[in-house]
């Protein structure tokens, strides 16, 4: 039996990797992948807790997260395509017109 803390540590590492990728990378696609990484880090802690406490609620939540993530990636990819068409770049540092 693998202890709960192992799962949580892995979950934390996954999430931290996501955050780091989000902050460091400039390519939108990579940033997008980093978001998915963070979501799945959270999902891992959900299912770990669900298994540990024998509660189904955590697993149900994971389904919700996955549904939202699927919807988000559909919209997000559509936006990325639109950005690429108009700006001809995927570098977020050059997509900075929306400001005061």
């Amino acid at each position: 039996m693998v202890p709960l803390s192992y799962y949580l540590a892995l979950s934390g590492i996954l999430f931290a990797c996501g955050v780091a990728g989000f902050l460091i990378k400039r390519n939108i696609i990579t940033i997008f992948l980093s978001i998915e990484l963070m979501l799945n880090g959270v999902n891992l802690s959900f299912v770990a807790f669900a298994a540990h406490w024998h509660q189904l609620a955590g697993q149900i939540f994971v389904f919700f997260v996955m549904v939202v993530a699927a919807a988000e990636s559909a919209v997000g990819l559509a936006i990325i395509i639109a950005v690429h068409r108009t700006r001809e770049t995927l570098n977020v540092d050059q997509v900075n017109l929306l400001k005061l």
Partner: protein, 662 residues
């Protein structure tokens, strides 16, 4: 029980006239507007006459008609109700009668004016408020009329509102009246506090058993003096008289109706109506008498040196009102009301005749540019001459009877004194002098306005013949003049044998405790008094002729004399010409500090430095903070992510810190 007299119709008919003319008069023809206005005021007059005819058949006087409840608040009740006794009947007849004549006159005088319908709307509105004032059954309704006539006065003084002087004269009248109204209101509050009522009958019944405040001044004295403050505002007495001469900016019929015959006498009416209070406050009565006497003398001296025909009459009005207050102040209320009535006739006539003169010479008001008008305007000359004889106190015209009555009472009454009489007689001399001066300057000699005539600034909108020689006014203006002249001739005869006094006696009956003093003074009058009365009468008649002679000497026989006298008097003359610098004094003492205080403290200090500053500083602060903070919104996605991560890290750090502490 009395049969119903439908008193409500008397004020409401003019109100209906004002409403009709005000709503549709702009589109109606001048004939239509005149018909409505004349019908309204004529019907009010007819009603008043009918009421006067029915008056003797009334079994209960005062006759009271209650139409509706107004305020029911605990024990404090005010009704919409009218009160008819001998005093209000006299006022009713004077207001509707003179008012109707002046309406007729105005048709001719204002015919060329662009604001014709507006003028008659205001005039009818004035009639409504004035009739409410004189018929009111309680002080509160009287106050409505009181404020209403002030409003009408304001509207009519500023009738030619495009002229700056007219607009500010209107404001001045209104503001000065507010000061008086403040005193009146406080007096009403005192009455409510002590009697819980403003109803005339209830207040008078409650006052009746009280004894006079002879030793020390009590609240009755305070009420009396505050009522007098109100009266001084409305009736242009010292120290609040300054608005009336400026009010001459209004059209001349307005000066005649409102600022000579009716509205300005409202104060005299109010004091007389409240005689029950004043009789029990001898000190307040003395204040009234002193203010009246001083005003009479003071205003008359200013009248000597004025050159504007209407200004002379304005100061004369202030002076004559002073006589009325002198009469009230010595307890001779019926003499005051008598003078009020005769004054309404002859002063109304004087103003209307002056209007006719101004009309005839194309808008000129300066008497130095008149002269010799007798041959051009014979009717105006004759009628104005009659009014002048009347106001000067030449027997047997109206003014003689009433003025002599006042002077005699000022001397003989228990409240009176020879000082009042002496100042009154000197004032009579001055009155006679300045009135005949006006007559000589206007009607005698040669016409002096011919050359400048075309250059005359026609302040009045009658742009008709601003050229050519003076001419007589149309018949529609002359008929009221003639009727008023007849009234000025015979109006005083009702006072012979004290008939007028006896008619008003039920109103001014003395209560038992006070009548003792009156008895003694009457006894004096009966025994040694008659000879003295004739003597004093002789003095006042000769004084009137003396004034006439002086005016004749100075302004007809030796026209170069006045200038010499003026030069000899130097500074004194200049002071009189400048009306004793009272306007300048008020400007320096009251108006300038008020304006400066408002500008520097309230506007620049409180408003700009505190209120505006608070609002503006809040806005400025928000903007300055935003200016700094908005740089965070760089548009750079990764910096946003960085802020979010930093924020999340901070929250987590806080939670861990709290957790470890617990």
């Amino acid at each position: 029980m009395n049969p119903p007299l439908h008193l409500w119709l008397i004020p409401l008919i003019p109100l209906a006239g004002a409403t009709i003319n005000g709503l549709i008069g702009k589109k109606a023809s001048r004939q239509g507007v005149s018909a409505v206005a004349l019908l309204a005021s004529g019907a009010a007059f007819a009603m008043a006459l009918w009421v006067a005819l029915r008056f003797s058949s009334l079994t209960v006087v005062p006759h009271i008609e209650i139409f509706a409840h107004w305020i029911r608040s605990g024990g404090f009740n005010v009704d919409f109700a009218f009160y008819l006794d001998q005093l209000s009947l006299v006022m009713l007849l004077v207001v509707t009668g003179v008012g109707f004549l002046i309406h007729i006159y105005s048709v001719g005088y204002m015919w060329e004016d662009a604001g014709y319908y507006r003028f008659f709307t205001y005039l009818n509105l004035f009639m409504f408020f004035m009739l409410t004032l004189v018929l009111a059954n309680n002080y509160l309704m009287m106050f409505i009329g009181w404020e209403g006539v002030g409003l009408a006065s304001y509207l009519l003084i500023g009738f030619w509102f495009t002229k700056d002087s007219a607009a500010s004269a209107g404001k001045k009248a209104f503001i000065v009246n507010r000061i008086g109204d403040f005193g009146f209101l406080i007096a009403l509050f005192l009455l409510i506090q002590h009697f819980g009522s403003l109803n005339f009958q209830r207040v008078f019944e409650a006052v009746r058993p009280l004894s006079a405040e002879t030793g020390s001044a009590g609240w009755l004295t305070a009420t009396g003096i505050l009522l007098m403050v109100g009266a001084a505002g409305k009736s242009a007495q010292i120290p609040l008289y300054v608005w009336l001469p400026d009010a001459m900016e209004g059209p001349t019929p307005v000066s005649a109706l409102i600022h000579a015959a009716t509205m300005v006498t409202a104060g005299v009416y109010m004091v007389s109506r409240s005689h029950m209070i004043f009789e029990r406050a001898p000190m307040a009565l003395t204040v009234v008498a002193i203010i009246g006497t001083l005003t009479a003398f003071f205003a008359a001296t200013i009248g000597i040196a004025q050159t504007d025909i209407k200004k002379v009459l304005a100061y004369s009005t202030v002076s004559q009102l002073g006589y009325m207050f002198m009469a009230c102040g010595v307890g001779a209320f019926s003499a005051g009301i008598f003078h009020l009535m005769t004054h309404a006739f002859f002063k109304g006539l004087l103003f209307l005749a002056a209007g006719s003169v101004i009309h005839g010479v194309g808008g000129e008001q300066d008497m130095r540019k008149m002269g010799g008008l007798r041959s051009y305007m014979p009717w105006t000359f004759v009628t104005m001459g009659i009014a002048t004889l009347a106001i000067a106190g030449i027997p047997p015209l109206a003014g003689f009877w009433s003025k002599d009555e006042i002077l005699w009472k000022a001397y003989s009454s228990s409240q009176g004194s020879w000082v009042f009489w002496l100042i009154g007689v000197i004032t009579a001399l001055i009155t006679s002098f300045y009135m005949f001066r006006l007559m000589y300057m206007t009607f005698a000699g040669d016409y002096r306005g011919a050359d400048e005539h075309e250059l005359v600034v026609v302040g009045h909108a009658h742009g008709h013949d601003a050229h050519g020689l003076p001419h007589e006014s149309p018949a529609v203006m002359l008929v009221p003049l003639i009727i008023l002249a007849v009234l000025s001739l015979v109006g005083g005869l009702v006072g012979i044998g004290n008939r007028f006094e006896h008619f008003l006696a039920p109103v001014f009956e003395q209560s038992a405790s006070l009548s003792a003093a009156a008895e003694t003074s009457n006894a004096i009058a009966e025994t040694g008094g008659h000879g003295k009365e004739w003597l004093l009468m002789g003095v006042s008649i000769s004084i009137a002729f003396l004034g006439w002679y002086l005016a004749y000497l100075l302004y007809s026989k030796k026209p170069e004399l006045p200038q010499k006298i003026a030069d000899a008097l130097g500074g004194l003359y200049a002071t009189v010409v400048h009306k004793y610098y009272i306007d300048e004094l008020y400007a320096a003492v009251f108006i300038k500090p008020l304006i400066d205080g408002s500008t520097r403290i309230l506007w620049q200090g409180v408003d700009r430095k505190i209120i505006d500053a608070a609002v503006n500083d809040t806005a400025d602060g928000a903007r300055n903070v935003s200016d700094e903070v908005r740089h965070m919104q760089s548009g750079n996605l990764r910096s946003y992510a960085g802020w979010i991560a930093a924020g999340a890290a901070a929250v987590i750090a806080y939670m861990i810190w709290m957790w470890t502490k617990a």
